[in-house]
Each structure stands twice: as C-alpha cells, then as structure tokens.
Symmetry: C2
Subunit: 658 residues, 2 copies
C-alpha cells in the first residue's frame, strides 16, 4: 500500500507542543525558506518506510519514531521515544538527517555516514526514505478498537531511581534531586506527591519510583514498583455502564464489569433524565450521585476481580454522551435537552478520578472525551477514534444506532457528523411487545414463506434461549425486514390484507390478525395447546410505523452527510454499526429496511462497543488522546433540525426501499 | 537619576511566557542577527523615558508599557496593558517601533509618522527613547512594602460581557461564547466554573461577569460584578499570623487582623514544633489543622470587619518560613530540622485557598511564596520583594532578626543570602527575666551615668506603660548596648566588679549585684518601699552571653556575605531590619553591640512587616509574583554550617565593637 493518508491533526497537537517547548522550529511560513520543505503545498512531508513499503504524509517536525508508531510501523524502543534507550535505530536511505550527540554515542563513524540515526531524534523536515531493521525487543502494542494497533505509550509513566543522600554540600530539594535523576520526564508535583516525597524518600533509602501522569508527578513509591501500572476505561452509557481495568505495562484488560446505570429510576433515556432535573431542583444532585456510585462500584468490581490495589490505578478515561457526562459532572443538562441544544463546553479541564467519585489513587487523573455537539457526544468521538475514522482513505459511514442516532461520514479527507432523533423504537420503547435486549427477547427472526406449516414458517432467535417474552430492537428490524421480504408489508409499510396474504403467502397468512382496537398485527409467538400460558408476542402496524420513523430519521441523516461530501451511497466502502444496539443488528435486515445505504452486506460491519474501546485507547497511548482532542477542530457538525428541508427529506425516507 | 538598574529576571519570566505564547521572537541567539540589538553584550536593551529622565535596561522583547509600569513610570491605561483600551500613548522619540493595526485605529497618519504608538504593543527589541504624556486617567497604583510603588495588575481579573443568545444557527458552546466575548484574557475553566456557566448565563439573560485568576476561569457571576474583587494576604509567622483583606480594585487594605499562631501549644519556635512531629505521629496532622484554623479564623475576622462576602475573595497569598509552610501543607518537616536541612521543594504548585483550609470562593487560588533554603523561607523572599532588594543599585543588607536570623545582601547586581542560628535570646528565651514583647516588657532602656540618683540613672520604656515584668528582645539589646556605652560591660562582655563600677560609674554602681548562685546581674527594676510587691527585673551575666552568641552568629553571617560579594562593611548604604523583632530594634543599640555593621544610624532602617507586604504585592500585581519566583534562580544561598571556618569566625565576633 503506498501513499496512505498520513495522520492528521493528532500530530498537529504534538507539533504545537514541541513548538511551545522550543524543540521545534516555527512552521515554514514563519521560519522562512529552508526550515522545512512542505510536500505538494500541503504543509506535509512524506516518509517512506522500508521494508514495509508504506508511505505517509506527516506534518513537518514530527519525529520519525512518532510517525512510525502512529501508523503501526514497529520500531524497536524501550523508552517509548524519549531519547534514552538508544534502541530505535533507522537508516535514512534517502534525504538527510542531522547527526545528534546521541547518534555519535550509538553509532560508529561508518554507520553514521551510512545514514544510521536514532528514529526518535530525527525530525521529519523534508521527505525521507527510511529503513527499519527487524525488531530485537518486542514492541509493546495492543490491538484495540476496530483492528487498531496501538503502540503502548500511556500517559501514566513510572521511573525507578536510586538517589544519592543529601549532604550539607548538596542541599538540593527532594524534588530537584528526583528531577535530576528522572531526566526524560517533566515532574510537576501535585500537593499529595509533595506530602509523600520527604517521607517516602527517607523511609526507602532514597530508592523510589516516580509516578507521573503526563507531566504531573502524582506520587513517589518506595522501591521499584515500575511493574505495576493500571487504569480504568469507562463507557458511561445511558442504559449500561462498562468498566475495563487495564494493565498499562502489557496493554491488556485485566477485568471487565458492567452494570445498569443507576440513574435508570429517573428514566430510560437522556430526555427523561433531563426532564427530571427541570422539574425537581434536587434531581441533578441525585443523578450526579448515582452516576458516581455506578462508576465507583464498577471500579471496586474490576479491582476485586483483577486482584489489583486501587492505589495502582493512576488514570481513568470515560466516554459518555453529552448528557451523561454533564450529569456525572453536576452540570445542568437542560440546555442540552431543549433547542438550540447547547453544551457548556466541548472539552473538559484536567480532572481527577475523585472528581468523578472513583476511589483509586488520590492523584489519579480523569480524561473525559470531548463532544462535537449536544447529540454527538464523547462516546461518538471515542467510537470514531476506535474505528480509525480519522485515518483511513476509505469512504466510511459510522452509525451509532439508538434513541438518538449519531452518524459520521469520512471520505478519507474530511469528516462530517450529525445526530438523528430516531426515537425509542430501537430500545423497545413505543413498541407494543417491545423490550430491552434481555432474556426472553426475540432478537433474530426468519420467515419461511415456503414452509409447509405455520409453526415452521417462523424461526425465532431468543436471548437466553428462553420462552419469548417480547421483541428487542434487532428483532424489530429483523421482523420488519422479513415481512417486507416475503411481501406481507408493502413498500409504504402497511400490513397487507388477510385476503392478499392468503393468496400470496399462505404459509404465514394465519399469523396476521386484527387486535382489540382494530389494529393489524403479525403474531410472532403465541400460546399453543402444549404451552397455553405463554404470552403472545406480536408486531403491530403502529410498531412498523415507529420503526419507519426511526429509520427515516437515520437515513435522512446519512443522506445529508453524503450530499455534504459529494459522495454517492454506492461509494461507501464500509458501514460501521456501533453502539449496544447497532452491534447486534443484522446487516441484511438493515439494508432491507433502508437503515443503511443499499450495499453488499459484507461492507456492513458490526463495530462493537467502540466507545469503550476508544476509552481504552487513550489510556494506552497519549498520542491517541491527542487524536481525540484533535477531532474537535477537524470534524464538522451539521445540525439537522436547523435544515429547512429536513421534514421533506424525512418523508421521502419513510418508505422501504424496493 | 539615569542608568538605573533595570529589572532583572522578573521580566525574564514574562518574556518566556510571551515566547511560549508565540507573541515574541526567540532570543537573539536563536533568531539570528537583527532580531534584537542587545546592549553592551548584556542581552538587555535600554529604554529612556522622558520627561522623567529615567533610563532602564530591560530584556529584549518586553513591552514598553510593562517596562514602564515595572519601574514606576505611570503610563495611562485602563485595561492594564492588554491592548484593548488604547490609552497607553507614548511617542518613540529615538529608535523605531513597528506600526500595528491598533496604532492605525488610534492615531492619525501624522501622529504615527511622528512616532506615536500604544506602549503596550511596542516591544523593546532595541534601545528606545520614549516620551510619556501627562496622565489623563489616574493609574491605579498602590504603595506597599518599603516605599514600593506597585501598579495594579492583579492575577484576579473580571470582565463584564453581554452575550448574544444561542440559536440553532449559532450553537457555540457556552464557554466558546464567553471566550469570544472576552478577547483579552485566556479562559481555562475549572470544574466549578463549568458547573455554574450554563445556569448563570441563562438566569441572567446572558449578561455575566467572568472571573479569572491568571488564565483560569474560576467563576461566572450574574450581571456586572466588576467592582468587587478581593484577596487576602497572610503573613504566617511562627508566633503571630497576620491577615490583610485587600480591595483589588483600589489596591487598598480593607481590614487587617492578627492572632497568635494556634500551633503555639506545640512550642514557641520551629524546632520545638518539628520535634513534636518527630515524637508523636499524630502531631503533624494536629499542627496542620491548627494552622488551617488560624488562617480560617483570620479570614472570617477580616471579612466580617470589612463587610465583604467570602465569595468575592478570589485569591490568597501566604508568606511563611519553610517550617510553617510545610506544617500548613501537611508535609513532614523533619528534614528541615536536622542536618543537612532539606526542603521538599523550593516552590509550590498552584494551590487552592481550600487546600489551606480557607473558606472563601471555592475556586480561589493560593499563592505560597517560594523559599531559598530550609532557613531562608518564603517570608524572607516576600521581605526581599517588599524591600525591593532585587531592584536597587545600592548595596543593601537585609536582616530579619529572630531565633533563626535570615540575612541577605545585595550589591546592586547580585544577591546572596544565608541563615544564622541566633537562638532564642531575641524572643526572650534563655534570658533570666526574658519575655515576649507584651504588656510589661521593658523595650527601651537609657542609662544616664551622670544622674544624681540611682532612680534617675535608669529610664525604662515599657510596653503598655505597665509595671515592668520582664525584658523583651529590643530591651535586651538596649540594655547591653547601654551597659557597654557607660562602661559597666567590658569589650569581652563581662560585667565589671562592684569596685570598678563604684569608681567609674557611681550613679549606676548600686544596680550591680550578685544573686543567689553567685551570678552577677544588673538590676533594671526592683521593689521599692512605695511598691514592695513588684517583681525584680534584671539582666544577668549569662543573659549577656546569650546575646553575645546571638549577635556573633548574625554578624558572622553578614561578614561572610560581605566577603562573598567583596563589599566592605562601610560601603553598605542601607541596613533593613525586618521581622517582628527587628523592626523594634534601636538602630544605635544594634550598631553599638555589633549586630549590624558600624554605620551612621540613618542608614539603619526599620522595614516593618515586610513578609506581609510582600504577600500583598503579589496579589496586587502578577508581575511582582513573577519577581518573587525569579528570586529562586537569582539569589545564591550560602550554608553557614557547611563552612569549616564558621566556628573561628563566630568566636571572633563575640566581642563588642570598640
């Protein structure tokens, strides 16, 4: 693969950081000619890595090591690109790179003349060809998200040092002594670390481990504790909250736990919870408390399961929608719930785990995903990060299906996003026999119009292999798609008459009925002489309408995004179905009802819990966190409700595709 | 006055800040020729202000407005140099300055050609002559410290803004809306401010006042509250704690309160309190709690007296010695108390008032003065700042007299400092009839060898005009100095024999006596037939020895500092006596016993409570705070106990000067 799209603004953040630290020259325009040759006027330079044969365009000034690890090219390193381990050997095969004093200590004269350099010290100021030797040490990397390979570089770092004792001739402060010994990290202590420092140093004979999160020294621990570094990633859903305890040394999950969001009693969706705060002045405080309890109990659970001390969890990351995030932080969510749908802020200051009620290390930091809009929240940014939507040349559509449906489209250069009000149908709300995806919910439905008997004509997949009690979102989509396929539902979404059914689909005609209030229904499951007490589970005409409204809102959303980027539906190379509902959806059913563009089903991929994956990624790599922050500037948000043509388009999308 | 010493590193901090923000070019060496002409190879440029006729050398890149205000040259301004008020008019009479778009909006073509510019936008990149017009608005300035004129530029800033309502077409976040309206300040919100933002904006019709401390947005307040900005300055002494409530709008103190440090029960000096923490594991917690209570009650007191709401106090500053600071912050002070006397850190992270137990605005920041050594603490840095030791061409000696005596010497270019272990004599400790400076303490003593009677030969000044009960530190110095003057004490510090006294000083000979254990004493006050019940107050031979030890330690200290800078004692142009004891000392007595160099008494100045003044200064001006921080890098600390010649020099200094 050549000429891949290089990473975008995630690097820009790094570059800005380097500039601020004076480690990098100003941008070409400011520094004048010669400071860095930009490539094809894009302000990028081109790096080609051999033997991988991959080429990336990167912002000038980024280190070759960073550029490689960002793109999944493994270069040997134990210090993670800090210039200390001297393991990240590369040969500059075309172009040139200045020789640093570290290079002189690492390589012979001949090797230097031959182009060998330390990759973390080579700045990409012009196009370079680079040879990467085979790995000696195994780089620490982890596969997370949608096949994303993340090279481990957590914000949490530890360094074990053995310090000399102070004397009257060497009265450096404890902090200075530590700083002088840890030369590859910045140590800005917090108050807790300062309280611990003198005591721990003297109790452990000045042999200690410094613990930092980004540039903050949050603790000093007696002896060598470098082997123990943990973090917790949270996916704070409106319904379900998931916590994953990560070992930052290995990048692997140690334990996972999930539970219902304890805010449930205030309502199942964001709007009912926002409403609660508008009607009861105490509700916000209660909701905040419940969210904190949820996170705290989950932390306890994964720590117990992993046998890990809370004191060794130094960072948490949280992805949640804008309302869940506001409620957790004690911020009035009302402006999110009423037009014009305003967030207090798109991103969040540096917080502590204790600000979220999570009882881990007292200095532990909390990273909360930024949001692109009131209805394209941190969970979606996390999902886009986990699915690599921001670095892929393919045209990809990301759909998080739910009460509020978030949609993002990337054409490989730009990303646009919107939110579509799908309503509660997917959660089983407003559906006669609707229920959550729990035991007894019908989640898969297959109709066989050629069956010999009524019983064989309907095959149900039921969660927990239990007696069917209701129908969940994916079952609803399946049912409607199957009814359309066999012809019991017409294009406009109307259940056909008994007579027409008897004529065209005799095997299933007996399932059609008219219930008490005259509404037409299709019976999925009913009492039999063998099982006379089971509940009757059916799909009603009104249920079909609910789903039509939901799918019309969603398809209106992606239709507008496709238009925005000038992309035809058939050019979409991949559709990622995300979220707890989207991940269970049958791709063929989604295509059949028009929830997604009419594409080969292989292009429609279940992305899983991408929000949680995104939260894990930012803990495993500070670079990924920069990538998430960069999306704020890069991704354009389009407000559907502000479009005068929304209603017309919505009505156009109500019908099922033929 | 011409060619005054320009401000030193306080500016360097500012310059660094500007560089980081990209507002300023790199230093000349990095930017190449032409970026800034340095002056006489010092890396400084020279600014001459007319009609004041004053010249300063400043680091290149600083704004003319800053350079002027730093040096007490008042230039009109209402925005404080933020580039918004367009009032800081100056004419560049020699040298040249680029024309900015703000200049074009402010001046006519002719005026620009004539050299008129906005002073806050002119960077001093080469030597300039500048004409400052007479003031139109009165600049807000305040006289604090030892005659220091501080131009008001508090870290606490407020801006009243009227925002437009959000719409579907303008979905900027609340924070972005506020940021766009407050264009002259950086607003990094804390969590509390984010919690308040959506509610306050909507409750007050989007008319709010943003409150920032440095670059942190700590609150938004409904309506226009710009008139109300307060801060509290603390002098956290081992004995006495003083709080001053400041009105940051006017720079004036609103209320002052003081009380004994509630840690007193743990011992009167730092060593006894450190010892307490070494013997009792609970003592540190108790001491921290008592310090917090002291600060908290004082805050309540000044707020009550000033009729000011705690919510309008947005910053506090605190100057204390290293031990008091450590105890307040809950940091083990043991390493400060035992050789080699190590601090945990010289400076402190950004803290909140709540970290110090002070109940004011929840987002209020706390600035704690940095320390130069375990025994040259934040109180001394504050004192040096308040006395302007870091910007004066004169040779000045600063002595904070106490149990531990801190000494600093500036030769107008460099500053060196040390700590001398004077012992408890000045606090009345180890003195037979010693007492604190409280009612009944003899503080002034005059002996009249020519008096006709014993009673008239001794004149006592007693605190509170009460019956004498004891002798305080200044009385001790006075007594010894007077005894030396009249000849009752010889040069070696021995009280002469009764016979010799009867011969040479008959009027006072009757005051000499030998007490129970054979020790010689000089009686200052005794029972008379008229007042038979009063206590006998006397000075003993051992008391004289205690004072000799104390003064020898101090004079050894300043002798070594004078040698360090190659300055002769008679070249010292000013001696500043600081601290609660030093300020009450009689300059002539101090000279007579050799506590200070032998100089005309007019050169010996009582500096008052300079620590408290320094704390006020950093609240009134963020520039002054930068100055305090800069001292860490600028001032050299010399450890006396590490000098092999200390004991010999100490013995040399025991005698009284002849």
């Amino acid at each position: 693969m050549s000429d891949e799209r290089g990473p975008g603004s995630p690097f820009d953040d790094v570059v800005d950081g380097l500039r601020r630290e004076g480690l990098l020259e100003p941008p070409p325009s400011a520094a004048g000619p010669g400071a860095g040759e930009s490539h094809e006027g894009t302000g990028r330079v081109q790096l080609t890595f051999e033997p991988a044969g991959r080429t990336f365009r990167v912002p000038p000034g980024v280190s070759v090591f960073d550029a490689a690890s960002w793109n999944g090219i493994a270069i040997d390193s134990t210090c993670g690109g800090h210039g200390t381990c001297r393991k990240c050997l590369v040969r500059v095969s075309s172009g040139s790179a200045p020789v640093t004093r570290h290079d002189r200590r690492t390589f012979s004269e001949d090797q230097i003349a031959d182009g060998w350099r330390l990759a973390c010290l080579v700045r990409a100021t012009h196009d370079l060809g680079l040879e990467v030797p085979p790995l000696v040490t195994r780089p620490k990397a982890s596969t997370v998200g949608v096949g994303r390979q993340v090279i481990l570089r957590p914000g949490v770092q530890k360094r074990y040092v053995e310090l000399t004792d102070p004397t009257l001739a060497d009265q450096r402060t404890d902090l200075q002594r530590l700083r002088d010994a840890v030369d590859d990290l910045t140590l800005n202590p917090d108050l807790h670390a300062l309280r611990r420092l003198p005591t721990v140093l003297r109790q452990s004979d000045f042999k200690v481990t410094a613990v930092t999160v980004d540039e903050v020294l949050i603790d000093v621990e007696p002896g060598d504790t470098t082997g123990s570094r943990h973090a917790i990633a949270y996916d704070l859903g409106t319904t379900t909250v998931v916590a994953t305890l990560l070992d930052l040394e290995t990048g692997t999950p140690v334990a996972v736990a999930s539970m219902l969001n304890k805010q449930q009693p205030f309502g199942g969706d964001v709007i009912t919870r926002i409403s609660a705060t508008m009607m009861d002045p105490d509700a916000l405080g209660r909701l905040t408390q419940l969210a904190r309890q949820t996170l705290s109990e989950l932390a306890q659970e994964v720590l117990d399961e992993g046998g890990i001390s809370p004191q060794s969890v130094y960072e948490v990351a949280l992805a949640g929608n804008a309302t869940m995030t506001a409620l957790l932080l004690g911020i009035d969510p009302e402006p999110l719930g009423v037009a014009p749908f305003i967030q207090v802020s798109a991103d969040w200051p540096v917080l502590h785990a204790s600000d979220l009620g999570i009882d881990v290390h007292p200095g532990a930091r909390a990273t909360i995903f930024p949001a692109l809009g009131a209805y394209v929240g941190g969970d979606i940014v996390a999902g886009m990060l986990a699915s690599g939507l921001d670095r892929d040349k393919r045209v990809r559509l990301f759909i998080d299906v739910g009460t509020n449906c978030e949609i993002a489209l990337s054409d490989g250069e730009r990303i646009v996003t919107t939110a579509a009000p799908a309503g509660p149908a997917f959660e089983g709300g407003a559906i006669r026999c609707g229920m959550r995806a729990a035991d007894g919910a019908i989640e898969v439905i297959t109709l066989n119009a050629g069956a010999s008997g009524d019983d064989e004509a309907v095959t149900l997949g039921v969660i927990g292999d239990a007696e069917p009690r209701g129908i969940c979102g994916s079952g609803l989509v399946d049912a409607v798609a199957e009814l359309v396929r066999v012809g019991l539902l017409d294009e406009s979404g109307r259940l056909i008459s008994d007579e027409a059914a008897a004529a065209s689909v005799p095997a299933l005609a007996g399932r059609l009925a008219t219930v008490g209030d005259g509404e037409r229904v299709f019976i999925l499951h009913r009492p039999t002489p063998d099982a006379p007490t089971v509940e009757c589970v059916y799909l009603s005409q009104r249920d079909v309408r609910e789903l039509q409204f939901a799918k019309a809102a969603i398809s209106t959303g992606w239709t507008l995004l496709l238009e925005e980027l000038g992309v035809s539906p058939r050019d979409v190379q991949q559709v990622l179905l995300a979220g707890s509902f989207g991940s269970y959806l049958s791709p063929s059913s989604a295509v059949r009802i028009g929830l997604v563009p009419k594409l080969p089903v292989l292009r429609i991929v279940s992305a899983g819990n991408v929000a949680g994956e995104g939260a894990k990624m930012v803990l495993l790599s500070a670079r990924e966190r920069a990538g998430a922050d960069a999306m704020l500037a890069e991704v354009a948000y389009i407000e559907l409700s502000d479009r005068p043509d929304f209603n017309d388009r919505f009505i156009d999308q109500l019908a099922f595709p033929v």
